[in-house]
Structure formats: C-alpha cells, structure tokens
Amino acid sequence: MARVITITSGKGGVGKTTTTANLGTALAMRGARVAVMDADIGLRNLDVVMGLENRIVYDLVDVVEGRARLRQALIKDKRLPELCLLPAAQTRDKDAVSPEQMVYLTNQLRTEFDFILIDSPAGIEGGFRNAIVGADEVIIVTTPEVSAVRDADRIVGLVEAAEKGTPSLIVNRIKPRLVNRGEMLSVEDVIELLAINLLGIVPDDEAIVTSTNRGEAAVYDQHSLAGRAFLNIARRLNGEEVPFLPLQDQPGVLERFFGIFGRRRT
C-alpha cells in the first residue's frame, strides 16, 4: 500500500523543501520506491535542492493538462534509481491545478511507488489545500520560533478540519545552546502548545546550506547531524522505534578555549 504524505508548515522558510528532499532520499536509500512531488506551483524549489533542475522537460501542470504522460514528467534521481521527482510548473500559478486533478495525480502515483511525498507551498490558501487533498498523512515542519509555531497551530486545525487526521511534527533548526540558555523555545515548549505526535528533531546544521546549494541531500553526509536526524525520521516513518539524537552542540575551537579558561577561574 502506497502512502501519500504531505509536508507543510504554514509559515515559509522553515525547511519544508529541505525536509521533503532529505526524507525522500533517505527512504529511497533504504530501498523504498519514492516519488517526491513539488506542489509549490509558480515557486518551484524542490528540483533545485535535489540538483535536478536541468533535467526538467515536462512538469506537473503539463501532466494535468494532458501535454505529457505522468511517466514522461517523472525525473529519475542522479544516484538513486528508486527515487523520482515530479516537478512543479514555474510559469503558472496555484490556480492551474484543481483539487480533483491533484487527487487523480496522487492516485496514479500510488500504483508505482511505496511513498509519495508532497512538498506543500507556504500559506493556507488554494496551494496548501491542493497539497493536502490527496494525502493520507500530514507532517508539519516548524522551527522553534513563536511565529512559526503559531502558524503550525493554525495548520493543525485546518488539517484536522480537512479530515486528514492529526498531523505529526518535525521541529527543525533547533539550536541546543540557545535552548539551554533559555533564549530559544525548547522542543517541549513546542509540543506542549501543539499537542501532536513528535516525529523528529533536526538540529541547526551549516551542512544543510552547503548540501542545498550543491543540490545533494544532507543524508549522504555521514558527518551531518541534520542528515542523521533525517535518516532517523525516515526509519520512524517505516515504523521503527528510533531514539531521538542527543542534542548537544559541538563546541567550536574558541569556545573550548574559553571553556577551559572559564573552568580555571572558578
């Protein structure tokens, strides 16, 4: 049975596309047949993050409007033959696709894949509604910021109203040092407010910036903490029990120095 999972957030810039690319790659590395779909029509990004931009011939709107068959529009990943991307159209807007067409499209993908991950646009309008209409499950990505959590709360309400069940949560870009100093919302604070199931915690990691710019998922990088967190989330999606990574910053050289210095003085 294929699972259609939409990744959404309400607020923009919290890491939906990065999460979609990394979870898709991680699931495919573990042997699943995965399609990732970019539902952000008019502002497509997923192809760039996955480094597949230059291979696009047809897109989602071409399929919906009958100019291309689904198989023609699906782009195979550079490394993983089991991973495919269905890119969004760049020259159209969200109204180019209807909810019925989205359901039809996801149902077609169900026959050939184990996982279909849909990268939702930000906001609560038509684009978001299109992204969740065909989904079996919804994952909400948030960062530990008050504004992002507020929007995530709104989205939980809308997902429940759309009868997609209670979504699960990924807290992205957590900075343990700031949390320890009480300057950042902790994961517990976020969970307490949203009251939904926690699927993963992804620490803030500079490796994400470089991997995104190179068009290569962070899960390939053995040393990336964020990459490991995404691999763990993929395992949890497969039903495995995986403990959460211990949240500790690797101290920088300067801090180690000051750390020793500080200890001597006390």
């Binding site: 507020r150 709360d153 709104r154 309400g157 809308l158 407010l193 009251a195």
Partner: protein, 226 residues
C-alpha cells in the same frame, strides 16, 4: 435578547429566532439595534435564521441579509415553515430547511435566561479557530494563542488559556473567566478590555477574572472562593 428576536447557541452553531407575527419593519429596526449594541458578539458570526410561521419574499430576505452582512454576520441557513420563505432562501443562495422538529418557543415565551445554556467542549482550540456561544462555554483542553472563545455568559477553561476570551459579550458584566493557567493574549468581560503583563514561566495556579468597579481584576482561585 429582546422580546421579538432571540439568539440561541447549540453544538451546531448559533440560531436567530424571529417573532412570528410582529411587524417586519419594526423587527428590522430592533435587529439593527441589537446588532449595534452587541457588536462584539456578532461581528464575524455565522448563524441560522429561524422564521417560524412567518413568510418572507426575496426582497425582504435580501434586506435582512444585507443588514446582517453590514454588521459582519453571515447567515448560512434558514429554517421556516412557509414555502415562500424557503424558496426565497434558495433564490438568494442559502440553505433552506423546514422547521426543526423541536423548534424553540417563539421569543417572548418566559424561559430560562439564555446564559443558563452551557456548551461543553473537549478539544484544543487552535490559532484561527473561533467558538461563539450565547450561553456559558466550558472548554476541557487548551485555548492556544490566536484562538478565540466568545460567550454570552462565563468561560471556564480546564487547561491553559493563552488565546482571546470575551465573556459577557451580550452585555452581562456579572460573569467570570477562569482557567487552570490564565495567560491570555487579551481578556474582555462585557465592555471592558484587559491585557496581561508577560509573566515568568513559574508554576501557574488556577485564576479567576471578573469585573470589579468597571475594571477587570484577576485573582487566584484560592483567594476568590473566600
């Protein structure tokens, strides 16, 4: 609410009941008054119109809908016995229903105060969600920031109250707002408004807000009950 128009809340939303026989223009005048007086309660509300035995044509109904819309009220549905009124509703594009089997007595019938009807809910009220009820509201669960509870009577939150609450929104100042953790973005009781200063994240005690000498005061439940 008045002798010709009454408002009732139920699990399925608000219902506005009009007197069966009163002169229509006089009813509209009174409705306008009510909507203006209780703007805080009605603005943003969706409700069902209940006409009883009264008949309305399309022009009269449009007039009514315009008046409501002017005050930020949307009528989703209309229930009436008269076929003409139901046809008029369909013509202007709202759902028409025959009268419910257990119709409310027409306004003016002596009955319990409207606040005596309470709504009990077990859920989380999240950002962007609004619950509106003419009587009391008891919420078992959290009211998150960005969520709203608007009640004609008192509001009790068995959980964290972090959103917006308006109690006594139909003018009654003799109501209370209480919560296990009272950290609202804003509280209103009748026509008074209060914001709470940001507080430390220490342990919270149950608190009660009420009006004392035209001001909203908050005190711990332990003090209040003495």
């Amino acid at each position: 609410m008045s002798d010709l128009i009454s408002i009732k809340g139920g699990r399925d939303g608000l219902r506005m009941r009009f007197d069966d026989t009163a002169d229509w223009p006089a009813l509209l005048v009174q409705l306008e008054q009510q909507l203006t007086q209780n703007q805080a309660f009605f603005n943003g509300a969706r409700l069902t119109l209940e006409l009883g035995e009264r008949s309305l044509d399309e022009i009269q109904l449009s007039e009514l809908l315009n008046l409501l819309q002017h005050h930020g009220v949307v009528a989703d549905a209309l229930s009436a016995n008269a076929r003409e009124a139901r046809n008029a509703a369909r013509a202007v594009g709202i759902t028409a229903r025959p009268l419910p089997r257990y119709a409310d007595p027409p306004p003016g019938t002596p009955s319990l105060a409207p606040e005596s009807e309470a709504l009990l809910l077990t859920r989380t009220v999240r950002s962007g969600q609004v619950l509106r009820h003419s009587g009391h509201i008891t919420l078992i669960g959290d009211l998150n920031p960005g969520g709203e509870l608007i009640a004609g009577g008192s509001v009790i939150v068995w959980g964290r109250l972090r959103g917006f609450v308006h109690a006594g929104a139909l003018g009654n100042a003799e109501v209370v707002i209480c919560a296990l953790e009272l950290s609202p973005t804003q509280l209103r009781i009748a026509d008074q408004i209060a914001t709470t200063p940001p507080r430390s994240n220490g342990p919270h005690v149950p608190e009660v807000a009420r009006i004392e000498q035209h001001q909203i005061v908050v005190e711990s439940w332990e003090n209040y009950k003495r």
